[in-house]
């Protein structure tokens, strides 16, 4: 008796012939595709190798990366602000936030980018202050001229980040909603102000819900940067490789170059996301750990 409970179970493992057959089949297809592709002239692998580490491509990849990073940075901050405004006790903030999300989520990002490109045609300057009130030439505010050559790079960033902020706002809002009402109540009854409650009680708890989809949004943003041609900004990865392929009349290898770089970046981001999520789960794991015990 005692022996049988202590010794590990010896049994013939279940066999999975179908899995092996499927694996074999897909490997076969993959190998056949690669062998074929290596010899297909349209791919022009020589051109691919020539351009994949070309200095211009390299720089363009840098532009794509910086567009992604800066736009996401602004989008996250502005998205948190919008989500917090959305549940502020102040009705003006709530309405402004709702309206912003309505407009920027409700129109295509490509169209928005075209609009940002035309900004200097639509408005010649912008003004911060109280409109239409002036004493002679003195206005209650400041005028900023918008030059015709306003940096396309920054217009692209504005376009990308404002659009993304609308999506981030929804992600953050879902995170905030996931926090139990009792949390806000308990914090309020301790005498915490609304903002202190948000900052130290609600937002930290919402983070666990917010982080995974945010990783997704970053990867998505990396690819959306390829639309900045609409501004038109032509220094990013996609526009630059198109540009080179126009020079050499050979589009396919340069598309492959662009794909290789995009794929490389998204792969790195996926790894980063994996570790960030794991790390975050560790810091806040008491809830999870207990449920497994």
């Amino acid at each position: 008796m005692a022996r049988s409970t202590k010794s590990t179970i010896q049994a013939v493992p279940l066999r999975h012939p179908f899995r092996w057959a499927a694996a074999f089949y897909f490997v076969l297809i993959g190998v056949a595709f690669i062998v074929d592709a290596l010899h297909r002239s349209a791919y022009d692998w020589k051109a691919f190798y020539k351009y994949v580490f070309d200095v211009r491509v390299f720089k363009a990849a840098g532009v794509t990366l910086s567009l992604t990073a800066i736009s996401m940075f602004i989008a996250i901050i502005w998205g948190v602000a919008l989500a917090v405004m959305r549940r502020s006790p102040n009705p003006v903030f709530r309405q402004v936030s709702w309206f912003f999300i309505w407009v920027f989520r409700g129109t295509p990002v490509y169209v928005q980018l075209v609009f940002w490109g035309l900004l200097s045609t639509i408005y010649h300057s912008f003004f911060i202050g109280i409109p239409d009130i002036h004493f002679g030439h003195f206005y209650l505010g400041v005028h900023f001229p918008i030059s015709q050559t306003a940096s396309l790079y920054w217009l692209a960033i504005i376009g990308l980040s404002l659009n993304e902020a609308a999506y981030m706002a929804e992600i953050v809002r879902a995170g905030l909603l996931s926090v139990d009402e009792g949390q806000e109540e308990a914090a309020t009854s301790l005498g915490m102000s609304w903002w202190t409650t948000m900052r130290f009680i609600v937002i930290p708890q919402a983070m666990r819900i917010i982080i995974p989809p945010t990783g997704n949004e970053i990867i998505s943003m990396l690819k959306t940067t390829s639309l900045v041609t609409a501004v038109p900004l032509i220094t990013d990865l996609y526009a630059r490789t198109r540009n080179i392929s126009d020079e050499i009349y050979n589009p396919i290898p340069l598309l492959m170059v662009a794909c290789a770089w995009y794929l490389f970046f998204t792969t790195v981001l996926m790894f980063v996301q994996y570790f960030v999520e794991k790390r975050f789960a560790r810091g806040h794991s008491p809830l999870l750990r207990v449920s497994h015990e």
């Binding site: 006790p89 139990d180 009792g182 949390q183 109540e185 308990a186 914090a187 309020t188 009854s189 301790l190 005498g191 915490m192 102000s193 609304w194 202190t196 130290f200 009680i201 930290p204 708890q205 806040h284 008491p286 809830l287 750990r289 207990v290």
Partner: protein
């Protein structure tokens, strides 16, 4: 208004939309008194407690805690709404313990207790830690300082919640069914902590169905039904010989 009163509620009305939940509550709690509030579900007990803490705004009546009007300031015979910061300052003096504990799950027991001291009263962290440790020791949790709420039993969580409220040095403590969410064997430890608090002279309003606690610890018992106070008085008296039919019917169910 008398100096000896901690809470004075006069004809409190409160509606949610068209649903009038409190229909003229009038009662007084003296300093150092423990009042138990009982009544059937939906009678407005939680709503009344939340009004005292200004988590809900009353529609009419006059509600004072420690001679201060709750939620309003009176000048030249007119009422002015308090600014959020002033309302928050009022809440500091009123502790509240919830049925579902509402501990902050991302903070340890100790960090829960000192959260108010640090974020609201801006007390130095080392001082707050010393005070928080002492408070947790007093509720019998000296060995659980670094535990997260999820690693504590319900009874332990509720005692942390009590300590968290006490950390703000309130003059009045409100308990909304503090033991209703607990397994029966854990009820005692929380009631003991509350009894100890009552003996230290804290003014308390306790919504509870624990009639044993009411009989032993409370100075007065108030029975609410349908948004009004039906009967109140000495707990022993009310429990032994309730005057109203509704009180009798209710007590026969919970005793």
């Amino acid at each position: 208004m008398s100096e000896s009163l901690m809470v004075s509620a006069v004809d409190i009305h409160k509606s949610f939309g068209t649903n009038e939940v409190l229909k003229g509550i009038t009662l007084e709690v003296k300093r150092g008194e423990v009042m138990c509030l009982v009544g059937p579900s939906g009678s407005g007990k939680s709503t009344f407690l939340r009004c005292i803490n200004h988590l809900e705004r009353i529609n009419s009546g006059r509600l004072m805690v420690d001679n201060q009007l709750i939620g309003y300031r009176e000048s030249n015979g007119k009422l002015h709404e308090l600014k959020p910061s002033e309302a928050a300052a009022q809440r500091v003096g009123i502790g509240m313990v919830f049925q579902k504990f509402n501990l902050f799950p991302h903070l340890t027991a100790l960090d829960n207790v000192i959260s108010g001291m640090i974020r609201v009263q801006k007390i130095d962290r080392t001082i707050a830690i010393a005070e928080g440790t002492e408070l947790l020791r007093r509720v019998g949790l000296a060995d659980k300082l670094e535990h997260y709420p999820a690693h504590l039993s319900g009874g332990q969580q509720q005692r942390v919640a009590i300590a968290r409220s006490l950390a703000m040095k309130p003059k009045l403590m409100l308990f909304d069914e503090p033991t209703s969410a607990l397994d029966p064997e854990l009820v005692g430890e929380v009631l003991d902590a509350m009894k100890q608090l009552a003996q230290s002279g804290m003014t308390m309003i306790v919504v509870t169905h624990e009639m044993g606690f009411a009989r032993e610890v409370a100075d007065s018992l108030v029975f609410m039904d349908g948004g009004v106070v039906v009967e109140s008085g000495d707990p022993e008296e009310v429990l032994r010989s309730p005057k109203h039919e509704r009180t009798r019917a209710f007590l026969s169910k919970v005793l």
